[in-house]
Amino acid sequence: MKTPLKNSSTLLALLLLMAFVLPLFAGEYLIHIGVLVLFYAYMAVAWNILGGYAGQHSLGHALFMGIGAYTSTYLFTRLGLTPWIGMWLGGALAGLTGWFVGYLCFRYGLKGPYFALVTIAMAEAAVYLVNNITAVGGAQGLEVAWTGSAPLLMQFDGKSGYYYVILVMSILAVWLSSWLIKRRFGYQLVSVRENEDAAEALGVDTLRVKIQASIISAIMTALGGTFFAQYFTYINPRNVFGEGPSIQILLFAIIGGLGTVWGPVVGALVLVPVAELSRGWLGGSFAGAHILLYGTVLVLVMLFMPNGIVGLYEKLRGKMKSYRSSNQGSEAS
């Protein structure tokens, strides 16, 4: 529940400043990595509200990403509607879907692995459904037509425009996430994760808060989906609804620190460069070597930091604290 780095607001301001000026100095490739880091940080923060705070591990969050990506892209390519508006329509549709999935699962008490399975099934069903809808391109997907530099259509010349869009989205997402966790809603979400029966006995409407978390998380994820479509200018059912994005999103949250405000950001910040750089260095020499390295890093992190990077940081900080106060005679455990 504690927000680490809270006291180090100067550090935060410095990092923000660095993030804002990065495109002025960096080349296109580095900015591209920056975009990926921010995109996955954003998505992981969105996932974390349902998966981390409320402890409901969705393994099919690509469902919402796909809804966002497809809604805005369809409206853009077929009707010329700017993605700046389309993304909110996608968000609304995803929110509705998030409500439906949440209601369906939580109303009937699905928990843990059972909830996870249903979310996988939903996302997978969406892949096949969209595969067969020719109006949205079927299995071939949709291409976002390049119209030149047009910020009003969320299209930019070069990568730094996209970089700033996703930077602002990430900042807003972290702000929302840290705001939520400090309020009644946040406490209730965490209490549901920690002990649902006890939460109910203390007046928490567990069904309602879980569904609300599902809706918020779905809307945020869908907005990210629109950004994904605009940045990569191509989507197909597998790459936005598929298991790939579903797993990646939650990986960063888990590695960084489940249920913490900054965990998802830290996870993306550490892992995305590892993945990208190792692909650049090793991709040419040994086929698959970079995936091996990436996998090794994941295993090591999980082995030695079961609570993620931020979890380890908090534990060390807690140890320091109790070490200091143990001099005053308080117990060591």
Partner: protein, 237 residues
């Protein structure tokens, strides 16, 4: 305050609670005893909204609460503690209690204020920043009461709140319950420790095989032949 009439709960052909009727008046401390499997826990679960009765009726302050969920019952002013303590392990003691406080104080500042008051009440102020998983059993038992207190109940159900504690710790809990009762909270307690029941309750309800086999003051109940038979076995051999 609480009127229970003809309450019944079946589990797949097994009747755990059978035509149970009793009342709890405002300001009372009522004890509920009975051998293992007598239906005490099932009764508690129904009163607090965790189980729906098969038939019968539960009236709390004139409202029928049979089909309400626990959080709704809690908002009406009836809540419970759990026999096996149920803390939120990764939240601090303060945060644990704040979850309960939020029921009456939606604003975080107010909820925190209320929670600090409660922490002091249950003598956990010095543990405010300790995580639930790092508290000792006696602290967890007090936290369990504190969480429930924070919801400002008018009727509090205590499920074996003294079990597993040392003598001095049990005395602590007794003092706390009596104080809270003086301040206007009504209690229904399930307890195996006779010391607790005999000390606290003004009235005792005795269950066996899901039915009430006797009630009265602690002294009356301890002389009731049916109750003695249930506890000690019938003198047939």
């Amino acid at each position: 305050m609480l009127v229970v009439s003809d309450l019944r709960r079946d589990f797949d052909g097994l009747t755990a609670v059978h035509d149970l009727s009793f009342t709890v008046e405002p300001g009372e401390i009522v004890g509920m005893i009975g051998p293992n499997g007598a239906g005490k826990t099932t009764t508690f679960a129904m009163l607090a909204g965790f189980l729906t009765p098969t038939s019968g009726e539960i009236l709390f302050q004139g409202k029928r609460i049979n089909n309400l969920k626990p959080h709704q019952v809690c908002k009406l002013g009836l809540t419970r503690t759990f026999q096996i303590v149920q803390p939120f392990p990764d939240m601090t003691a303060l945060e644990n209690i704040m979850v309960g406080a939020y029921v009456r104080y939606p604003n975080t500042t107010d909820a925190k204020h209320k929670a600090m008051e409660v922490l002091e009440r249950v003598n956990l102020l010095h543990k405010a920043d300790t995580l639930g998983k790092n508290l000792t059993l006696i602290e967890l038992k007090r936290l369990e009461i504190g969480k429930a207190l924070a919801t400002e109940p008018s009727l509090l159900l205590l499920d074996e709140v003294a079990s597993g504690l040392k003598d001095a710790e049990v005395d602590n809990i007794l003092v706390l319950v009596r104080q809270l009762n003086k301040e206007g909270i009504t209690f229904l307690i399930v307890e195996h420790l006779m010391k607790v029941i005999m000390n606290l309750s003004q009235r005792v309800i005795v269950l066996d095989f899901g039915q009430m086999i006797g009630q009265g003051t602690p002294q009356e109940v301890s002389r009731n032949p049916a109750v003695l038979a249930a506890y000690l076995g019938k003198e047939e051999e």
